[in-house]
Protein backbone atom coordinates (compact mmCIF):
# COMPACT_ATOMS: atom_id res chain seq x y z
CA UNK A 1 0.00 0.00 0.00
CA UNK A 2 1.49 3.35 -0.93
CA UNK A 3 1.21 6.38 1.25
CA UNK A 4 -1.59 8.00 -0.73
CA UNK A 5 -3.78 4.94 -0.35
CA UNK A 6 -2.80 4.80 3.29
CA UNK A 7 -3.79 8.43 3.69
CA UNK A 8 -7.11 7.86 1.95
CA UNK A 9 -7.89 4.69 3.83
CA UNK A 10 -7.26 6.42 7.11
CA UNK A 11 -9.09 9.55 6.40
CA UNK A 12 -10.66 10.67 9.70
CA UNK A 13 -14.37 10.15 9.73
CA UNK A 14 -14.90 13.58 11.19
CA UNK A 15 -17.61 13.90 13.79
CA UNK A 16 -20.95 14.97 12.44
CA UNK A 17 -21.99 18.48 13.39
CA UNK A 18 -24.53 18.72 16.14
CA UNK A 19 -27.97 19.89 15.04
CA UNK A 20 -27.41 23.00 17.12
CA UNK A 21 -24.17 23.78 15.28
CA UNK A 22 -25.90 23.42 11.91
CA UNK A 23 -28.77 25.57 13.10
CA UNK A 24 -26.44 28.22 14.46
CA UNK A 25 -24.37 28.31 11.28
CA UNK A 26 -27.45 28.53 9.12
CA UNK A 27 -28.93 31.23 11.33
CA UNK A 28 -25.72 33.26 11.08
CA UNK A 29 -25.88 32.96 7.32
CA UNK A 30 -29.54 33.97 7.28
CA UNK A 31 -28.71 37.00 9.39
CA UNK A 32 -26.04 37.99 6.88
CA UNK A 33 -28.52 37.49 4.06
CA UNK A 34 -31.10 39.61 5.83
CA UNK A 35 -28.52 42.30 6.54
CA UNK A 36 -27.63 42.46 2.87
CA UNK A 37 -31.26 42.58 1.84
CA UNK A 38 -31.70 45.56 4.13
CA UNK A 39 -28.72 47.26 2.56
CA UNK A 40 -26.51 47.12 5.60
CA UNK A 41 -22.95 48.02 4.83
CA UNK A 42 -21.58 46.62 8.04
CA UNK A 43 -19.24 43.79 7.22
CA UNK A 44 -19.65 41.72 10.31
CA UNK A 45 -17.57 38.59 10.29
CA UNK A 46 -20.31 36.60 11.81
CA UNK A 47 -23.73 37.39 13.07
CA UNK A 48 -23.72 39.22 16.35
CA UNK A 49 -24.44 37.01 19.25
CA UNK A 50 -27.85 38.57 19.52
CA UNK A 51 -29.94 39.81 16.73
CA UNK A 52 -30.18 43.54 17.04
CA UNK A 53 -33.91 43.36 16.83
CA UNK A 54 -36.28 44.36 19.54
CA UNK A 55 -34.60 45.85 22.51
CA UNK A 56 -31.07 45.04 21.50
CA UNK A 57 -30.98 47.80 18.93
CA UNK A 58 -30.62 50.03 21.97
CA UNK A 59 -27.22 48.52 22.59
CA UNK A 60 -26.12 50.45 19.53
CA UNK A 61 -28.06 53.58 20.22
CA UNK A 62 -27.59 54.60 23.74
CA UNK A 63 -25.07 53.66 26.33
CA UNK A 64 -24.55 52.39 29.51
CA UNK A 65 -21.94 53.44 31.34
CA UNK A 66 -20.66 52.00 34.24
CA UNK A 67 -22.93 49.56 35.78
CA UNK A 68 -24.43 51.08 38.87
CA UNK A 69 -23.19 50.12 42.26
CA UNK A 70 -26.16 47.92 42.94
CA UNK A 71 -25.59 45.90 39.81
CA UNK A 72 -23.52 42.86 39.14
CA UNK A 73 -19.83 42.61 39.57
CA UNK A 74 -18.79 39.61 37.62
CA UNK A 75 -16.42 38.33 40.23
CA UNK A 76 -19.30 38.09 42.67
CA UNK A 77 -21.23 35.74 40.48
CA UNK A 78 -21.20 32.20 41.71
CA UNK A 79 -20.39 30.17 38.64
CA UNK A 80 -22.17 26.85 39.00
CA UNK A 81 -19.32 24.81 37.52
CA UNK A 82 -21.38 22.80 35.11
CA UNK A 83 -24.25 21.97 37.38
CA UNK A 84 -27.29 23.41 35.67
CA UNK A 85 -30.61 22.35 36.98
CA UNK A 86 -34.12 23.37 37.67
CA UNK A 87 -34.70 26.93 38.78
CA UNK A 88 -34.71 27.17 42.52
CA UNK A 89 -37.64 28.42 44.47
CA UNK A 90 -35.48 31.32 45.56
CA UNK A 91 -34.90 32.39 41.96
CA UNK A 92 -38.57 32.11 41.08
CA UNK A 93 -39.49 34.00 44.25
CA UNK A 94 -37.05 36.80 43.42
CA UNK A 95 -38.46 37.07 39.93
CA UNK A 96 -42.01 37.19 41.18
CA UNK A 97 -41.06 39.77 43.78
CA UNK A 98 -39.49 41.92 41.08
CA UNK A 99 -42.68 41.49 39.07
CA UNK A 100 -44.80 42.68 41.98
CA UNK A 101 -42.66 45.76 42.43
CA UNK A 102 -42.61 46.58 38.73
CA UNK A 103 -46.39 46.22 38.55
CA UNK A 104 -46.77 48.60 41.47
CA UNK A 105 -44.42 51.07 39.78
CA UNK A 106 -46.77 51.17 36.81
CA UNK A 107 -49.27 53.10 38.87
CA UNK A 108 -46.90 55.65 40.38
CA UNK A 109 -46.68 57.94 37.37
CA UNK A 110 -49.27 60.73 37.53
CA UNK A 111 -50.93 62.41 34.56
CA UNK A 112 -48.52 64.93 33.07
CA UNK A 113 -45.49 63.21 34.50
CA UNK A 114 -42.95 61.41 32.39
CA UNK A 115 -40.50 58.66 33.21
CA UNK A 116 -37.10 59.67 31.93
CA UNK A 117 -34.92 56.71 31.07
CA UNK A 118 -31.26 57.40 30.42
CA UNK A 119 -29.94 54.58 28.30
CA UNK A 120 -26.38 53.46 27.90
CA UNK A 121 -25.66 50.84 25.27
CA UNK A 122 -22.53 48.82 24.70
CA UNK A 123 -22.00 46.61 21.71
CA UNK A 124 -19.07 44.53 20.56
CA UNK A 125 -19.13 43.49 16.95
CA UNK A 126 -16.50 41.59 15.04
CA UNK A 127 -15.56 43.38 11.88
CA UNK A 128 -13.90 41.92 8.86
CA UNK A 129 -11.24 44.48 8.07
CA UNK A 130 -9.03 44.39 5.04
CA UNK A 131 -6.13 43.08 7.03
CA UNK A 132 -7.75 41.08 9.73
CA UNK A 133 -10.84 38.94 9.43
CA UNK A 134 -11.59 39.19 13.06
CA UNK A 135 -11.21 42.58 14.65
CA UNK A 136 -13.64 43.12 17.49
CA UNK A 137 -14.68 46.69 18.24
CA UNK A 138 -16.67 47.77 21.27
CA UNK A 139 -18.64 50.98 21.12
CA UNK A 140 -20.60 52.85 23.75
CA UNK A 141 -23.48 55.22 23.19
CA UNK A 142 -26.03 57.17 25.18
CA UNK A 143 -29.59 58.16 24.52
CA UNK A 144 -32.63 59.24 26.48
CA UNK A 145 -36.31 58.57 26.20
CA UNK A 146 -39.16 60.21 28.09
CA UNK A 147 -42.35 58.17 28.33
CA UNK A 148 -45.77 59.09 29.69
CA UNK A 149 -47.89 56.61 31.60
CA UNK A 150 -50.53 56.90 28.91
CA UNK A 151 -48.56 55.93 25.86
CA UNK A 152 -50.94 57.77 23.58
CA UNK A 153 -49.58 61.03 24.99
CA UNK A 154 -46.44 62.62 23.56
CA UNK A 155 -43.14 60.75 23.79
CA UNK A 156 -39.80 62.56 23.80
CA UNK A 157 -36.63 61.05 22.52
CA UNK A 158 -33.03 62.12 22.33
CA UNK A 159 -31.28 59.58 20.10
CA UNK A 160 -27.79 58.62 20.97
CA UNK A 161 -24.54 58.42 19.18
CA UNK A 162 -21.62 56.27 20.05
CA UNK A 163 -19.31 58.46 22.02
CA UNK A 164 -16.64 55.98 22.98
CA UNK A 165 -15.17 52.91 21.44
CA UNK A 166 -12.46 50.38 21.94
CA UNK A 167 -10.49 48.07 19.68
CA UNK A 168 -8.53 45.07 20.86
CA UNK A 169 -5.66 45.00 18.44
CA UNK A 170 -3.70 47.29 16.16
CA UNK A 171 -5.70 46.21 13.16
CA UNK A 172 -8.93 47.23 14.82
CA UNK A 173 -7.64 50.67 15.77
CA UNK A 174 -6.20 51.18 12.31
CA UNK A 175 -9.45 50.21 10.69
CA UNK A 176 -11.38 52.61 12.88
CA UNK A 177 -9.03 55.41 11.86
CA UNK A 178 -9.41 54.58 8.19
CA UNK A 179 -13.19 54.21 8.21
CA UNK A 180 -14.53 57.06 10.29
CA UNK A 181 -17.98 57.00 8.69
CA UNK A 182 -18.39 53.31 9.36
CA UNK A 183 -17.55 53.44 13.02
CA UNK A 184 -18.67 55.27 16.10
CA UNK A 185 -16.15 57.98 15.38
CA UNK A 186 -18.30 59.03 12.46
CA UNK A 187 -20.92 60.45 14.77
CA UNK A 188 -18.66 62.69 16.78
CA UNK A 189 -19.56 66.33 17.28
CA UNK A 190 -23.07 65.90 15.99
CA UNK A 191 -25.74 68.31 17.23
CA UNK A 192 -27.84 67.30 20.20
CA UNK A 193 -31.49 67.38 19.30
CA UNK A 194 -34.70 66.34 20.94
CA UNK A 195 -37.58 64.71 19.14
CA UNK A 196 -41.23 64.70 19.99
CA UNK A 197 -43.58 62.07 18.70
CA UNK A 198 -46.95 60.46 19.15
CA UNK A 199 -47.52 56.78 19.66
CA UNK A 200 -43.82 56.13 19.47
CA UNK A 201 -43.44 57.51 15.95
CA UNK A 202 -41.10 60.42 15.36
CA UNK A 203 -40.85 62.76 12.42
CA UNK A 204 -38.53 65.54 11.44
CA UNK A 205 -39.84 68.54 9.50
CA UNK A 206 -42.83 66.42 8.49
CA UNK A 207 -40.57 63.70 7.10
CA UNK A 208 -40.48 60.31 8.78
CA UNK A 209 -37.34 60.09 10.81
CA UNK A 210 -34.95 57.28 10.00
CA UNK A 211 -35.45 54.54 12.60
CA UNK A 212 -38.01 56.88 14.12
CA UNK A 213 -40.65 54.27 14.93
CA UNK A 214 -39.81 53.15 18.43
CA UNK A 215 -42.71 50.77 18.75
CA UNK A 216 -41.67 47.17 19.28
CA UNK A 217 -44.45 44.92 17.95
CA UNK A 218 -43.21 42.04 20.08
CA UNK A 219 -43.89 44.02 23.24
CA UNK A 220 -47.51 44.38 22.20
CA UNK A 221 -47.84 40.59 22.45
CA UNK A 222 -46.61 40.38 26.04
CA UNK A 223 -49.99 40.77 27.71
CA UNK A 224 -50.55 39.95 31.36
CA UNK A 225 -50.64 36.13 31.36
CA UNK A 226 -47.14 34.66 31.78
CA UNK A 227 -48.26 31.12 30.91
CA UNK A 228 -49.83 32.31 27.69
CA UNK A 229 -46.73 34.32 26.87
CA UNK A 230 -44.46 31.35 27.50
CA UNK A 231 -46.61 29.17 25.25
CA UNK A 232 -46.53 31.80 22.54
CA UNK A 233 -42.77 32.26 22.81
CA UNK A 234 -42.15 28.52 22.71
CA UNK A 235 -44.33 28.00 19.65
CA UNK A 236 -42.64 30.89 17.88
CA UNK A 237 -39.20 29.62 18.84
CA UNK A 238 -39.98 26.08 17.66
CA UNK A 239 -41.11 27.31 14.30
CA UNK A 240 -38.11 29.57 14.02
CA UNK A 241 -35.74 26.71 14.77
CA UNK A 242 -37.45 24.49 12.22
CA UNK A 243 -37.26 27.24 9.62
CA UNK A 244 -33.59 27.83 10.32
CA UNK A 245 -32.89 24.13 10.19
CA UNK A 246 -33.75 23.97 6.49
CA UNK A 247 -33.19 20.46 5.20
CA UNK A 248 -31.91 19.48 8.63
CA UNK A 249 -35.15 20.45 10.33
CA UNK A 250 -36.48 16.91 10.55
CA UNK A 251 -33.22 15.67 12.01
CA UNK A 252 -33.21 18.60 14.40
CA UNK A 253 -36.73 17.95 15.62
CA UNK A 254 -36.04 14.23 15.97
CA UNK A 255 -33.24 14.91 18.41
CA UNK A 256 -35.71 15.93 21.05
CA UNK A 257 -33.28 16.87 23.78
CA UNK A 258 -31.11 19.09 21.60
CA UNK A 259 -34.14 20.60 19.96
CA UNK A 260 -35.80 21.47 23.23
CA UNK A 261 -32.56 23.00 24.48
CA UNK A 262 -32.32 25.11 21.36
CA UNK A 263 -35.93 26.22 21.77
CA UNK A 264 -35.42 27.08 25.43
CA UNK A 265 -32.35 29.06 24.56
CA UNK A 266 -34.22 31.06 21.94
CA UNK A 267 -37.15 31.69 24.29
CA UNK A 268 -34.78 33.02 26.90
CA UNK A 269 -33.04 35.14 24.29
CA UNK A 270 -36.35 36.59 23.17
CA UNK A 271 -37.33 37.45 26.73
CA UNK A 272 -33.99 39.18 27.20
CA UNK A 273 -34.58 41.08 23.97
CA UNK A 274 -37.84 42.38 25.40
CA UNK A 275 -36.25 43.31 28.71
CA UNK A 276 -33.63 45.25 26.76
CA UNK A 277 -36.25 47.55 25.27
CA UNK A 278 -36.66 50.76 27.32
CA UNK A 279 -40.14 51.30 25.91
CA UNK A 280 -41.47 48.26 27.75
CA UNK A 281 -44.03 49.35 30.31
CA UNK A 282 -43.57 48.36 33.96
CA UNK A 283 -46.59 46.07 33.57
CA UNK A 284 -44.95 44.35 30.59
CA UNK A 285 -41.74 43.94 32.54
CA UNK A 286 -43.76 42.36 35.35
CA UNK A 287 -45.16 39.77 32.94
CA UNK A 288 -41.67 39.08 31.61
CA UNK A 289 -40.34 38.44 35.13
CA UNK A 290 -43.17 36.02 35.82
CA UNK A 291 -42.57 34.26 32.51
CA UNK A 292 -38.91 33.80 33.33
CA UNK A 293 -39.94 32.31 36.64
CA UNK A 294 -41.88 29.64 34.76
CA UNK A 295 -39.02 28.65 32.50
CA UNK A 296 -37.15 25.43 33.17
CA UNK A 297 -33.41 25.37 32.91
CA UNK A 298 -31.55 22.68 31.04
CA UNK A 299 -28.14 21.35 30.22
CA UNK A 300 -26.93 24.55 28.61
CA UNK A 301 -28.61 27.07 30.86
CA UNK A 302 -28.84 27.76 34.49
CA UNK A 303 -30.02 30.73 36.47
CA UNK A 304 -28.32 32.01 39.55
CA UNK A 305 -29.45 34.47 42.09
CA UNK A 306 -27.06 37.25 42.94
CA UNK A 307 -26.14 37.77 46.54
CA UNK A 308 -28.32 40.85 46.87
CA UNK A 309 -31.29 38.99 45.47
CA UNK A 310 -31.80 41.47 42.67
CA UNK A 311 -29.56 40.20 39.91
CA UNK A 312 -30.06 37.15 37.79
CA UNK A 313 -27.38 35.54 35.71
CA UNK A 314 -27.94 32.99 33.01
CA UNK A 315 -24.91 30.98 31.96
CA UNK A 316 -24.72 29.58 28.50
CA UNK A 317 -22.58 26.60 27.74
CA UNK A 318 -21.24 26.03 24.28
CA UNK A 319 -23.56 23.08 23.91
CA UNK A 320 -20.68 20.65 23.58
CA UNK A 321 -20.72 17.79 26.02
CA UNK A 322 -17.67 17.96 28.20
CA UNK A 323 -17.39 21.70 28.36
CA UNK A 324 -16.72 22.51 31.95
CA UNK A 325 -17.15 26.24 31.87
CA UNK A 326 -19.83 28.42 30.33
CA UNK A 327 -18.96 30.54 27.33
CA UNK A 328 -21.14 33.53 28.07
CA UNK A 329 -23.19 34.95 30.89
CA UNK A 330 -26.38 36.87 30.32
CA UNK A 331 -27.12 39.09 33.26
CA UNK A 332 -30.30 40.87 34.19
CA UNK A 333 -30.17 43.28 37.07
CA UNK A 334 -33.12 44.90 38.75
CA UNK A 335 -33.32 48.49 39.90
CA UNK A 336 -33.75 48.22 43.63
CA UNK A 337 -35.82 51.40 43.84
CA UNK A 338 -38.68 50.41 41.57
CA UNK A 339 -38.37 46.79 40.45
CA UNK A 340 -37.71 47.81 36.85
CA UNK A 341 -34.90 46.31 34.84
CA UNK A 342 -31.67 48.15 35.45
CA UNK A 343 -29.45 46.39 32.93
CA UNK A 344 -29.21 43.48 30.54
CA UNK A 345 -25.77 42.30 29.47
CA UNK A 346 -24.03 39.54 27.58
CA UNK A 347 -20.53 39.01 28.89
CA UNK A 348 -17.86 36.80 27.39
CA UNK A 349 -16.49 34.27 29.84
CA UNK A 350 -14.04 32.61 27.46
CA UNK A 351 -11.36 34.32 25.45
CA UNK A 352 -12.01 33.74 21.79
CA UNK A 353 -11.31 35.37 18.44
CA UNK A 354 -9.24 38.17 20.00
CA UNK A 355 -12.06 39.02 22.39
CA UNK A 356 -10.80 38.80 25.96
CA UNK A 357 -12.63 37.35 28.91
CA UNK A 358 -14.95 39.86 30.54
CA UNK A 359 -15.76 41.72 27.33
CA UNK A 360 -19.30 43.05 27.24
CA UNK A 361 -20.67 41.77 23.96
CA UNK A 362 -23.95 43.63 24.28
CA UNK A 363 -25.44 45.63 27.09
CA UNK A 364 -28.11 48.18 27.86
CA UNK A 365 -28.41 49.95 31.18
CA UNK A 366 -31.36 52.08 32.22
CA UNK A 367 -31.40 54.80 34.86
CA UNK A 368 -34.81 56.16 35.72
CA UNK A 369 -36.13 59.52 36.89
CA UNK A 370 -39.65 60.89 37.16
CA UNK A 371 -40.19 64.35 35.62
CA UNK A 372 -43.14 66.60 36.28
CA UNK A 373 -42.88 68.33 32.92
CA UNK A 374 -41.80 67.61 29.39
CA UNK A 375 -38.14 68.18 28.60
CA UNK A 376 -37.07 71.39 26.93
CA UNK A 377 -34.25 71.93 24.48
CA UNK A 378 -33.50 72.21 20.81
CA UNK A 379 -36.25 70.34 19.07
CA UNK A 380 -35.42 68.69 15.79
CA UNK A 381 -38.57 69.97 14.14
CA UNK A 382 -37.33 73.54 14.62
CA UNK A 383 -34.09 72.94 12.76
CA UNK A 384 -33.85 73.15 8.99
CA UNK A 385 -32.84 70.14 7.00
CA UNK A 386 -29.33 70.39 5.59
CA UNK A 387 -28.84 70.85 1.90
CA UNK A 388 -27.06 67.98 0.30
CA UNK A 389 -27.37 65.68 -2.64
CA UNK A 390 -28.15 62.07 -2.07
CA UNK A 391 -25.01 60.03 -2.53
CA UNK A 392 -22.69 62.87 -1.61
CA UNK A 393 -20.51 62.71 1.43
CA UNK A 394 -22.78 64.04 4.19
CA UNK A 395 -21.97 67.35 5.88
CA UNK A 396 -20.39 67.23 9.26
CA UNK A 397 -22.87 66.17 11.89
CA UNK A 398 -25.17 64.38 9.48
CA UNK A 399 -25.09 60.70 8.68
CA UNK A 400 -27.12 60.95 5.50
CA UNK A 401 -28.80 63.76 3.69
CA UNK A 402 -31.53 65.10 5.88
CA UNK A 403 -30.83 62.96 8.89
CA UNK A 404 -28.79 64.66 11.56
CA UNK A 405 -26.78 62.65 13.98
CA UNK A 406 -27.83 63.15 17.52
CA UNK A 407 -26.11 63.81 20.76
CA UNK A 408 -22.40 63.89 20.49
CA UNK A 409 -19.62 64.47 22.89
CA UNK A 410 -15.94 63.99 23.08
CA UNK A 411 -15.08 60.48 22.12
CA UNK A 412 -12.27 58.36 23.28
CA UNK A 413 -11.19 55.02 24.42
CA UNK A 414 -13.28 53.02 26.82
CA UNK A 415 -10.14 52.22 28.73
Amino acid sequence: MDSLELLRENRPEGERPTPEAVTAARAALMNAIEAEKKGSTARTKSAPKRRLSGGWRWALGGAVAAVAASAIVLSQVLVPAGQPGAPTNAVAAALNEAADRAAATDTTLQPGQLRKTSITGISTIRWATERDDNSPITSRSRSTIYLPRDRSDAWYYQPGVSDQYKAYDKEGWAWIAENPESTPRGSVNAPTLLFRGLNGIFTRATKPMANGDLNNPELAKVGTDPSALLTHLRETAKQSKLDEGGQNAAQLAADNSAFESAVDRLVFENIVNLFADPTATPAQQATLYRTLALMPTDRVHTTQLQKDGLSLTRFEWSGNIGDEAPATATQITVDSSNGLVHSVSDIRLKSEDNIPVGTVMGSVTFNYEVLDAAPSGAFAADRPLPKCVSGDRPPKGYNTCGEPMQGGSAWGSLD
Binding site: L4, L6, R16, P17, A21, R26, I33, S46
Partner: protein, 198 residues
Amino acid sequence: MNTNDHELIARSLAEPAAFADLFDLHAATVHRYAASRTDRQTADDLLSETFLVAFEKRGNFDAERGAVRAWLLGITTTLIRKHRRTEARAYAGLAADKASRILSADAYQEADARLDAAASVRDLSRELTKLAPGDRDVVLLYAWEELSYQDIALALDIPLGTVRSRLNRARTKLGANMNFTEDFNAKETGHGFAGTTA
Protein backbone atom coordinates in the same frame (compact mmCIF):
# COMPACT_ATOMS: atom_id res chain seq x y z
CA MET B 1 -19.26 20.54 -12.44
CA ASN B 2 -22.63 21.04 -10.81
CA THR B 3 -24.59 23.59 -12.81
CA ASN B 4 -27.23 23.72 -10.09
CA ASP B 5 -24.62 25.08 -7.70
CA HIS B 6 -23.55 27.66 -10.24
CA GLU B 7 -27.13 28.69 -10.83
CA LEU B 8 -27.67 29.11 -7.11
CA ILE B 9 -24.68 31.40 -6.81
CA ALA B 10 -25.76 33.41 -9.82
CA ARG B 11 -29.29 33.66 -8.50
CA SER B 12 -28.10 34.65 -5.03
CA LEU B 13 -26.59 37.83 -6.47
CA ALA B 14 -30.11 39.10 -7.06
CA GLU B 15 -31.87 36.97 -4.45
CA PRO B 16 -29.50 36.59 -1.51
CA ALA B 17 -31.77 34.02 0.14
CA ALA B 18 -30.90 31.54 -2.60
CA PHE B 19 -27.51 31.18 -0.97
CA ALA B 20 -29.14 29.31 1.91
CA ASP B 21 -29.78 26.43 -0.50
CA LEU B 22 -26.03 26.14 -1.04
CA PHE B 23 -25.64 25.81 2.71
CA ASP B 24 -28.12 22.94 2.79
CA LEU B 25 -26.33 21.21 -0.06
CA HIS B 26 -22.75 21.57 1.14
CA ALA B 27 -22.80 22.09 4.91
CA ALA B 28 -22.11 18.43 5.65
CA THR B 29 -19.16 18.33 3.23
CA VAL B 30 -17.62 21.48 4.63
CA HIS B 31 -18.03 20.32 8.21
CA ARG B 32 -16.62 16.88 7.50
CA TYR B 33 -13.55 18.37 5.86
CA ALA B 34 -13.06 20.87 8.67
CA ALA B 35 -13.51 18.17 11.30
CA SER B 36 -11.00 15.92 9.56
CA ARG B 37 -8.39 18.64 9.90
CA THR B 38 -9.30 20.12 13.27
CA ASP B 39 -11.77 19.06 15.94
CA ARG B 40 -15.53 19.16 16.11
CA GLN B 41 -15.81 22.37 18.03
CA THR B 42 -13.47 24.18 15.66
CA ALA B 43 -15.26 22.56 12.73
CA ASP B 44 -18.56 23.94 14.00
CA ASP B 45 -17.07 27.44 13.91
CA LEU B 46 -15.45 26.86 10.53
CA LEU B 47 -18.76 25.72 9.08
CA SER B 48 -20.34 29.02 9.99
CA GLU B 49 -17.38 31.14 8.98
CA THR B 50 -16.97 29.39 5.63
CA PHE B 51 -20.48 30.17 4.50
CA LEU B 52 -20.35 33.74 5.78
CA VAL B 53 -17.15 34.39 3.85
CA ALA B 54 -18.53 32.60 0.81
CA PHE B 55 -21.71 34.66 0.94
CA GLU B 56 -19.75 37.87 1.14
CA LYS B 57 -17.42 36.90 -1.68
CA ARG B 58 -19.90 35.12 -3.93
CA GLY B 59 -19.66 37.90 -6.47
CA ASN B 60 -16.06 36.89 -7.11
CA PHE B 61 -16.84 33.25 -7.81
CA ASP B 62 -15.81 32.31 -11.32
CA ALA B 63 -18.02 29.52 -12.62
CA GLU B 64 -15.59 28.85 -15.45
CA ARG B 65 -12.85 27.85 -13.10
CA GLY B 66 -14.39 24.95 -11.25
CA ALA B 67 -16.82 23.54 -8.78
CA VAL B 68 -18.57 25.37 -5.96
CA ARG B 69 -17.64 22.55 -3.62
CA ALA B 70 -13.95 23.16 -4.32
CA TRP B 71 -14.38 26.89 -3.83
CA LEU B 72 -16.05 26.32 -0.45
CA LEU B 73 -13.37 23.88 0.65
CA GLY B 74 -10.76 26.42 -0.38
CA ILE B 75 -12.34 28.99 1.92
CA THR B 76 -12.39 26.43 4.72
CA THR B 77 -8.73 25.64 4.05
CA THR B 78 -7.81 29.29 4.38
CA LEU B 79 -9.73 29.57 7.64
CA ILE B 80 -8.10 26.42 9.01
CA ARG B 81 -4.76 28.21 8.94
CA LYS B 82 -5.89 30.12 12.01
CA HIS B 83 -6.13 26.82 13.84
CA ARG B 84 -2.76 25.22 13.23
CA ARG B 85 -2.36 24.02 16.77
CA THR B 86 -5.71 22.27 16.64
CA GLU B 87 -4.81 20.89 13.25
CA ALA B 88 -1.62 19.32 14.57
CA ARG B 89 -3.61 17.62 17.30
CA ALA B 90 -6.01 16.28 14.70
CA TYR B 91 -3.19 14.51 12.86
CA ALA B 92 -1.96 13.03 16.09
CA GLY B 93 -5.52 11.83 16.55
CA LEU B 94 -5.39 10.21 13.15
CA ALA B 95 -2.68 7.84 14.37
CA ALA B 96 -4.49 7.23 17.63
CA ASP B 97 -7.70 6.45 15.80
CA LYS B 98 -5.96 3.91 13.63
CA ALA B 99 -4.35 2.31 16.66
CA SER B 100 -7.65 2.05 18.47
CA ARG B 101 -9.33 0.43 15.52
CA ILE B 102 -6.58 -2.15 15.38
CA LEU B 103 -6.68 -2.83 19.06
CA SER B 104 -10.42 -3.28 19.02
CA ALA B 105 -10.22 -5.88 16.24
CA ASP B 106 -9.40 -9.52 16.75
CA ALA B 107 -6.00 -9.34 18.30
CA TYR B 108 -4.88 -12.65 16.86
CA GLN B 109 -5.90 -12.15 13.25
CA GLU B 110 -3.16 -10.79 11.08
CA ALA B 111 -1.83 -8.97 14.08
CA ASP B 112 1.55 -8.21 12.63
CA ALA B 113 0.18 -6.70 9.45
CA ARG B 114 -2.19 -4.49 11.38
CA LEU B 115 0.47 -3.29 13.70
CA ASP B 116 2.65 -2.46 10.72
CA ALA B 117 -0.22 -0.45 9.27
CA ALA B 118 -0.61 1.38 12.55
CA ALA B 119 3.05 2.26 12.52
CA SER B 120 2.76 3.52 8.95
CA VAL B 121 -0.17 5.75 9.82
CA ARG B 122 1.71 7.07 12.80
CA ASP B 123 4.64 7.92 10.56
CA LEU B 124 2.36 9.47 7.99
CA SER B 125 0.58 11.63 10.53
CA ARG B 126 3.90 12.82 11.83
CA GLU B 127 5.09 13.63 8.34
CA LEU B 128 1.88 15.49 7.59
CA THR B 129 2.57 17.93 10.39
CA LYS B 130 6.02 18.60 8.92
CA LEU B 131 4.75 19.58 5.51
CA ALA B 132 4.58 23.23 4.56
CA PRO B 133 0.98 24.39 5.07
CA GLY B 134 0.47 25.00 1.37
CA ASP B 135 1.76 21.55 0.47
CA ARG B 136 -0.40 19.93 3.12
CA ASP B 137 -3.49 21.75 1.82
CA VAL B 138 -2.89 20.33 -1.65
CA VAL B 139 -2.26 16.79 -0.43
CA LEU B 140 -5.33 16.65 1.77
CA LEU B 141 -7.68 18.21 -0.74
CA TYR B 142 -6.41 15.63 -3.18
CA ALA B 143 -6.34 12.58 -0.93
CA TRP B 144 -9.26 13.21 1.40
CA GLU B 145 -11.59 15.35 -0.68
CA GLU B 146 -10.59 13.78 -3.99
CA LEU B 147 -10.54 17.10 -5.76
CA SER B 148 -9.10 17.25 -9.26
CA TYR B 149 -5.98 19.28 -9.95
CA GLN B 150 -8.12 22.00 -11.46
CA ASP B 151 -10.44 22.14 -8.50
CA ILE B 152 -7.48 22.31 -6.12
CA ALA B 153 -6.15 25.19 -8.16
CA LEU B 154 -9.52 26.92 -7.81
CA ALA B 155 -9.81 26.13 -4.14
CA LEU B 156 -6.40 27.49 -3.25
CA ASP B 157 -6.29 30.13 -5.96
CA ILE B 158 -2.98 28.89 -7.31
CA PRO B 159 -1.90 27.92 -10.81
CA LEU B 160 -2.29 24.34 -11.96
CA GLY B 161 1.48 23.99 -12.22
CA THR B 162 1.81 24.96 -8.57
CA VAL B 163 -0.60 22.20 -7.64
CA ARG B 164 1.68 19.72 -9.38
CA SER B 165 4.84 21.06 -7.87
CA ARG B 166 3.38 21.04 -4.38
CA LEU B 167 2.20 17.48 -4.77
CA ASN B 168 5.63 16.43 -5.97
CA ARG B 169 7.32 18.20 -3.12
CA ALA B 170 4.93 16.63 -0.63
CA ARG B 171 5.54 13.23 -2.15
CA THR B 172 9.23 13.62 -1.60
CA LYS B 173 8.81 14.73 1.96
CA LEU B 174 6.27 12.12 2.89
CA GLY B 175 8.80 9.45 2.23
CA ALA B 176 10.87 7.94 -0.47
CA ASN B 177 9.15 4.60 0.02
CA MET B 178 5.76 6.15 -0.74
CA ASN B 179 5.19 5.93 -4.44
CA PHE B 180 2.93 8.90 -5.15
CA THR B 181 3.96 9.59 -8.71
CA GLU B 182 2.07 6.84 -10.46
CA ASP B 183 -0.96 7.29 -8.33
CA PHE B 184 -1.12 11.02 -8.83
CA ASN B 185 -0.78 10.64 -12.58
CA ALA B 186 -3.55 8.07 -12.61
CA LYS B 187 -5.74 10.41 -10.61
CA GLU B 188 -5.01 13.28 -12.91
CA THR B 189 -5.98 11.23 -15.94
CA GLY B 190 -9.08 10.07 -14.20
CA HIS B 191 -10.23 13.64 -13.79
CA GLY B 192 -9.58 14.41 -17.41
CA PHE B 193 -6.83 16.90 -16.76
CA ALA B 194 -3.84 14.88 -17.98
CA GLY B 195 -1.61 17.01 -20.07
CA THR B 196 -3.15 20.23 -18.85
CA THR B 197 -0.55 22.79 -18.09
CA ALA B 198 -0.66 25.74 -15.81
